[in-house]
Amino acid sequence: MFTSVMFASILPEILITILGMILLIVEPFWKEDQRRNSGWLTAGGLFVIIIISLLFGQPGEPVAVLGGMIRFDWLGFFFKLLFMFAAAATALLLMDHEKAGHRGEAYLLLLASLLGMNLMAVSADLIMLYLSIETASIPLYILAGFLLADDRSTEAGFKYLLFGTVTSTIMLYGFSLVFGLAGTTNIYQLSQMFADGEVSVLLVFSLVALILVGLGFKVAIVPFHFWVPDVYEGSPTPVAGFLSTASKAAGFAVIVRFFFVAFPAFASSWTFILAALAAVTMTVGNLLALPQTNIKRLLAYSSVAHAGYALIGVVAFSQLGAASVVFYLAAYILTNLLAFGIVMAFSQATGLEDLKDYAGMSRRNPLLALMMLSAFLSLTGMPPFGGFVAKVFVFAAGIQANYTWLVVVGILNSVVGVYYYLNAMKYVYLYRMPNEDEENHQIILTRPYAIALVVLTIGVILVGTVFAPWFSWSDAAAMNLF
């Protein structure tokens, strides 16, 4: 039987598939110089899909649909909206990419990956979960190595592929052990099995460790972060932005659902592992970001550090904790997309990506400089930008759960963050171009960039000031876990 709830639960995915097909059909008929319109089509289509989903696809009470494969609830729905928004922004940013912008395949791969992420957020079954993770990852391997003529991009794609397949295989091994012990692959039945059965803590410990290898790779926590800087640096910048936001958030969606739902009985042991990982991740990410001179590598390490902050909310293992993680990811997606969008806009205009090339940027385009300031201050955790509130919520959840030491590690790390983010802004605002002739080197934003960046900036400020609606949604999502 196919009911309307089933239909509503995968409405966005159906529409994304249709959008992908339209793209496939239309694109070959366009002339070479019209091909970049695929970006408008993708972004516009996703925008329409977001609206349709909000109108017709809102979940009510959490239900298991499609044979228990999918959980239809606010947690998944909110994440889906975030992913679709991120993909739309990425499509806009991709349009004026010199090598990839006019290739329809890039947008199609983006949509395919988006489809996988959407399913990751709602999977309620280990098999479904694994399939969706692979669906999300494989297109990203290709996108990371999309620039065939560029050795660094090829290296990025290959590195990402190798790390990705190895870690996901280990995770699959963990899944199979879980199935062997519990006799079910449904996440929502696992907790029962683990609570009833005589499972030793040590065994759960090792299961968690195996599964964390795969998920840790997706969200880039230490020690599974080695791929991050090289892949971000090599892949096309919008793809790096997508990797660091939607892909990371998808990993978190799985972590939150899987650990909160499947192992509540063993919370004390896995929160301990995650707390240690969070502390190490923040510290390593921030310290390694300090000496970076390439802006994409800087953002790569900063994205590692941010995974650590977000983990504090998971560690808290409370409704507020889960809500704060979701909120954190929402703020972080907007902020980091903005940061990568600016890097993309700048390198499209100048072809440069080093921190020192940003000298004099505020005189070359004051608006772009202000938007970069917003993004970086939000990453630092300064009000009135989204990053500040998100951090305060995560820290509040940590203190509520008596993880004061972890919060102290977190705040010390934010201080390190202040140094390198503000240092980057120093190039933008303080230093000048070698000949001090910024007037002759104005940066002009093309329309897709202007739209995407202004929308993102407004989003970052809105999340940081009018945060009640976003938090209500995050809270509704978190409520489904308990």
């Binding site: 004051p366 300064m382 203190i399 004061t404 705040i411 503000l422 945060f467 209500s472 809270d475």
Partner: protein
């Protein structure tokens, strides 16, 4: 009283900043005009608010507004002022107005006065700073207070690093930001701990400070968290031994930012330490007041002595700020009526006085291109208006009767004497040292014969500068002659604090 005056005062700067950022960058005078208009409106509104409070003989928290922000976590926009914070709102209005005047760059003349490079961004960042400062002074919600507190921190970095003194600006700006950020995040941990414990004790999830005052934090909790919270905020108040960022920051900052920085930003630290540290954790304050008093006394004398040995005029004023802010902390640490009233008046008095000092120093530097006192002289002849202003500021600084400094310092020492007479004796040495360095500076800079190479290069100050100097002097003399302009209000604010301290 339905007119939402406090939220207008607070949010006007950010509205003005956004408007300025939308004006094309090359239309500098339009930008300055918007800034000046906004500053005048804000000054008038805050003066009106202040006079209302004074004339109608109000008590407790007034002009209250409360709007939902995030009901689930008990976060609200909760505006309100009492006798302690109303003068500080007025102070911010004054410094904002004079700061815009001082930053008024003249694009045609060759005098390097004001801000000529990207004034749009400069004024916008300055106004974002003002937004944060107003927000802290008027908030009765702890989250809101912290939100605005952080807003006041980051524009400082940009203002100093971009428009500051080329020699030390990068170093000073980063040092300042890191100190302040570390202080504030440490305080944040304490604030969040208070939030949860208050929830446990009362069952209400709220950041409302008036509610938290009744949360019955246990003695051991207060004992543990008082120091991180108080010191975390007081770092911005320039408390010894965490004062190191402050003289460097003052010196590196452009004139109107120094005015803002020493004039109101340091009060932000002292105010937040008082509002959160003392008023929400009164038992902890009683336990630790001896330590706070000791380091404040050191700051007072040490700051004055270091100021005395400076050769650079701006460094001298920077260290004198450490000394005077030490007096504020000293007054707070007495936890008695006299000391707290004095501390409150001193916050206002020092804010106006030091803004004036920095303004005049900036005028001299813009013309003479040096701040070494040995290379200056004879300024009284060419810029008499500025000289008179500086001397009035000096008299205030020395605590001369008839000026606001006396109204502030006398009760502080009285309060300290009642707690520990020895500390009062030791810290009053600073008055002598202060008199010495101020008088020496006045002689060297204004009355010694002018060095030959400056002869003929120095022009008088502009009209904008004169208006600024006059405004600042006006308030110092006003309070000195009519203490009733401020002291009764402070007393009402202090009553509230003493009530929380158990009528000590």
């Amino acid at each position: 009283m339905n007119f939402p005056i406090l939220s207008i005062i607070t949010n006007l700067p950010i509205v003005a900043a956004v408007i300025m950022l939308m004006i094309p960058a090359n239309r500098k005078n339009e930008v300055r005009g918007v800034a000046l208009a906004a500053a005048i409106i804000d000054l008038l509104l805050s003066a009106w608010m202040y006079l209302q409070y004074l004339i109608q003989d109000m008590t407790g928290y007034q002009f209250i507004e409360q709007y939902n922000w995030l009901p689930q976590l008990g976060i609200t926009f909760y505006f309100g002022v009492d006798g302690m914070s109303a003068p500080l709102v007025l102070l911010t209005g004054i410094v904002m107005f004079t700061g815009v005047l001082i930053a008024w760059g003249d694009d045609d003349k060759h005098v390097m006065a004001g801000i000529q490079d990207r004034p749009r961004e400069f004024l916008a960042f300055l106004f974002i700073l003002a937004w944060g400062v107003f927000g802290v002074f008027v908030s009765l919600d702890l989250f809101m207070l912290f939100f605005f507190y952080e807003i006041a921190v980051f524009p400082m970095y940009l203002l100093i690093a971009i428009w500051g003194w080329a020699k030390t600006r990068e170093y000073a700006a980063m040092k300042l930001t890191l100190y302040l950020f570390i202080g504030s995040v440490i305080a944040l941990v304490g604030v969040l701990a208070m939030y949860w414990v208050s929830y446990q004790n009362t069952g209400v999830l709220t950041f409302d400070m008036l509610h938290m005052e009744t949360a019955n934090f246990s003695a051991s909790f207060q004992y543990i968290w008082f120091l991180p919270v108080f010191l975390g905020f007081a770092v911005l108040g320039g408390i010894w031994p965490f004062h190191n960022w402050s003289p460097d920051g003052h010196v590196a900052a452009p004139t109107s930012v120094s005015m803002f920085h020493a004039g109101v930003l340091m009060k932000l630290g002292a105010f937040a330490a008082l509002r959160v540290g003392i008023m929400l954790l009164p038992e902890g304050a009683k336990q630790w007041s001896w330590l706070i008093m000791a380091i404040a006394a050191i700051a007072v004398v040490y700051g004055a002595y270091i100021a005395f040995v400076q050769t650079d005029l701006k460094y001298m004023i920077g260290f004198s700020s450490v000394s005077h802010m030490g007096l504020v902390i000293l007054g707070i640490s007495t936890l008695n009526h006299n000391g707290l009233v004095g501390a409150g008046v001193q916050m206002f008095s020092h804010g106006v006085m030091t803004a004036l000092f920095f303004a005049v120093t900036g005028m001299i530097y813009d013309r003479a291109h040096t701040r070494q006192m040995s290379e200056l002289g004879g300024m009284a002849k060419v810029m008499p208006f500025a000289a008179v202003g500086f001397i009035i500021g000096g008299l205030v600084s020395m605590g001369m009767p008839g000026f606001s400094g006396f109204v502030a310092e006398f009760p502080i020492f009285m309060g300290v004497w009642r707690v520990q007479w020895l500390v009062a004796v030791i810290s009053s040495i600073s008055i002598v040292i202060t008199a010495a360095y101020i008088l020496l500076a006045v002689r060297r800079v204004f009355f010694n014969p002018m060095p030959e190479k400056l002869e003929g290069h120095i022009t008088d100050v502009t009209v904008m500068d004169k208006i600024a100097i006059f405004t600042l002097c006006f308030f110092m003399v006003l309070i000195g002659i009519f203490p009733s302009f401020m002291v009764p209000m402070m007393e009402k604010g202090v009553e509230n604090i003493l009530r929380l301290l158990g009528g000590a």
